[in-house]
């Protein structure tokens, strides 16, 4: 049985959602015009005033916001309410440049937690569940978001935060945790450790996992599901927009429903900024239409994906986004070719290797080199040198056909790549450009 947190809106007809979006957008643009001089100036430069925005159809007239704007206005140039009304901040992990500080009113927090509650119920969660939140707590949005969502659902919430892996497993077992929330790379590590401790899928009370905050492949999902005996659900979000829960997966596991009553999604051509027809692949752009403290209008996520409004078997009507291949920030350009770490992960898992890998990019004699380092496992090891080399060659051939460029494969000793408790560091780029 499909569970919904707010069925009346999650399953509302599209026309109704569109109407809500238009009403909220008109209001939001006025709010920003009145309270954020930085964005007002951008609008004036483009010759747009709030009067020009009458419905979602006019959205394309508005200027974009990007990470560069956030850097320029750091720390509070985009704040749209008096500080007295702000109850909290969160901040990005700062993996790509300067941190972003995002502000929340109490209402912003409430709506964000609603989004996370929808995600937990879509993963099968109810007030009978025990939700272990193993995302980091603190400035990072992961812990706070799922924690709040779990409260709203009425689940018993274990505020674990990340780290201390053996204790994580002890709590899962002793407190009968049924839903685990963490990054996919940490989920993979928890699974590996459970296996080492001799726990099979049937020994682990978990039934579902809600994993996000980094790009992961379908193959990694299958591997985690098998190891822990759970259903693994993807969740999407950005600190700029609130945090996790902007979009989430349902029982169909076929893309993530975007919470369209709070966020309007567009797909644009990343080069020209033109809006692309629905169904085409391009850069995802969000307009947060409910946020009071830190309203984002046409925020460019740099995530490349496509949207689908096909009917979903779960009954939700909100548009679905495909799993992004990764932020364009994660994308590597090697010898002029675009390479996403998630593509490399797909090839590794398809070849029977574990999701413990590292990608080392360097420049030798003015040529980029790509070294994919993966740990040897008992399953992949053989006393026969020829067979191990054959597997290594096959992996190199598969990488070549997936990426279009040649990659070296290095086989490392087990446990030689550091395990991640939060966002995994997959790429080491030694190039000095």
């Amino acid at each position: 049985m499909e569970h919904y947190y707010q069925p009346e809106i999650e399953c509302a007809p599209y026309e109704e959602i569109r109407k809500i979006q238009s009403e909220k957008l008109v209001k939001q643009v006025k709010h920003v015009w009145d309270n954020v001089p930085y964005y007002r100036k951008k609008m004036e430069e483009k010759g747009v005033t709030p009067d020009d925005i009458k419905s979602v159809d006019d959205l394309h007239k508005l200027p974009f916001l990007s990470k560069a704007d956030l850097r320029e206005t750091y720390p509070d140039g985009l704040l749209a309410v008096p500080k007295d009304d702000v109850v909290r901040i969160h901040s990005t992990s700062g993996t790509t440049g300067k941190r972003v500080v995002a502000y929340y009113t109490q209402n912003d927090i409430d709506l964000w937690e609603d989004c996370c509650a929808r995600a937990i119920m879509a993963a099968g969660g109810t007030n009978e569940d025990v939700v272990q939140v193993s995302y980091g707590y603190g400035l990072f949005t992961g812990g706070a978001g799922l924690h709040g969502g779990s409260h709203k659902v009425g689940s018993l919430t274990i505020p674990m935060s990340s780290g201390n892996t053996d204790r994580q497993i002890m709590f899962i077992k002793d407190l009968n945790a049924t839903i685990l929330c963490c990054t996919p790379s940490y989920a993979a590590y928890l699974g590996e450790r459970m296996q080492e401790m001799g726990y099979g899928p049937d020994d682990i009370p978990l039934k579902a996992g809600i994993f996000g905050a980094e790009a992961w492949s379908e193959e990694m999902r299958q591997s985690i599901q098998k190891t822990m005996g759970i259903k693994a659900f993807d969740i999407y979000g950005l600190t700029e927009l609130s945090g996790p829960g902007v979009a989430f997966e349902c029982s169909a596991q076929q893309g993530m429903h975007i919470n369209e009553d709070h966020f309007i999604a567009e797909i644009i051509d990343p080069d020209t900024g033109e809006v692309l027809p629905e169904g085409e692949q391009g850069e995802l752009v969000f307009t947060a239409i409910d946020k009071e403290a830190f309203p984002m209008i046409r925020y460019r996520t740099k995530d490349i994906c496509r949207l689908s409004r096909e009917k979903c078997s779960c009954g939700r009507t909100h548009v679905r986004m495909a799993k992004p291949m990764g932020r364009s920030d994660d994308m590597l350009i090697i010898r002029g070719v675009n390479v996403f770490p998630s593509e490399i992960e797909t090839v590794l898992l398809n070849n029977g290797y574990a999701a413990n890998y590292q990608i080392v990019v360097d420049r030798v004699n003015n040529t980029d080199t790509l070294d994919v380092q993966v740990e040897m496992t008992p399953e992949m090891f053989n006393d026969n040198v020829g067979e191990v080399e054959e597997r290594q060659k096959k992996l190199m051939a598969d990488l070549k056909s997936m990426l279009g460029i040649k990659a070296k494969v290095s086989l490392l000793a087990p446990k030689s790549i550091a395990r991640s408790e939060g966002k995994a560091v997959r790429v080491i780029d030694k190039r000095k450009i």
Binding site: P378, F381, N382, V385, P414, K415
Partner: protein, 144 residues
């Protein structure tokens, strides 16, 4: 009776082999014979020890990838032509050798021991035994 050889994956960087011998030494595991197969990118250490099961579980506990491989251990006289005579039997019985290495016979200095990896250990052993070759057991190896 074939003998259990331990095969250990070694990453290609300085100190890996030493890390392995260190683990074995600290657990009092006695090496009878060793051989190292290497490629450009990695190596496989092959070991005959006094207690194969203990050695494998110890190595695994220390994050090595190690497996057991059945091999044939055959004693020959440590003299000119000793190996050649033995290989006559292999040829006669059409037993194909994948790899081979040797170790001296310990206290018995006029003997040497040869380790053979063949495709079908059981079949090869039956044929060689039939041709009069004495194949050593795990116990005999442990007691050398």
């Amino acid at each position: 009776m074939s003998v259990q050889q331990i095969s250990v994956f070694l990453e290609n960087k300085p100190g890996t082999l030493k890390k392995m011998t260190g683990v074995l030494a600290s657990h009092g595991i006695d090496l009878r014979a060793t051989s190292l197969a290497e490629t450009k990118d990695f190596g496989i250490a092959r070991l005959i020890v006094d207690d194969a099961l203990e050695a494998v579980s110890t190595l695994k506990e220390h994050d090595f990838v190690a497996s057991l491989t059945p091999v044939l251990a055959i004693e020959i006289p440590d003299e000119a032509g000793g190996l050649d005579k033995l290989l006559d039997k292999f040829t006669d019985e059409s037993v194909n050798i994948e790899y081979m290495y040797a170790f001296p016979g310990g206290r018995n200095t006029d003997r040497a021991c040869m380790i053979f990896r063949v495709a079908d250990t059981k079949a090869a052993e039956a044929r060689l035994t039939g041709a009069g070759v004495k194949v050593l057991t795990q116990e005999e190896i442990s007691n050398i």
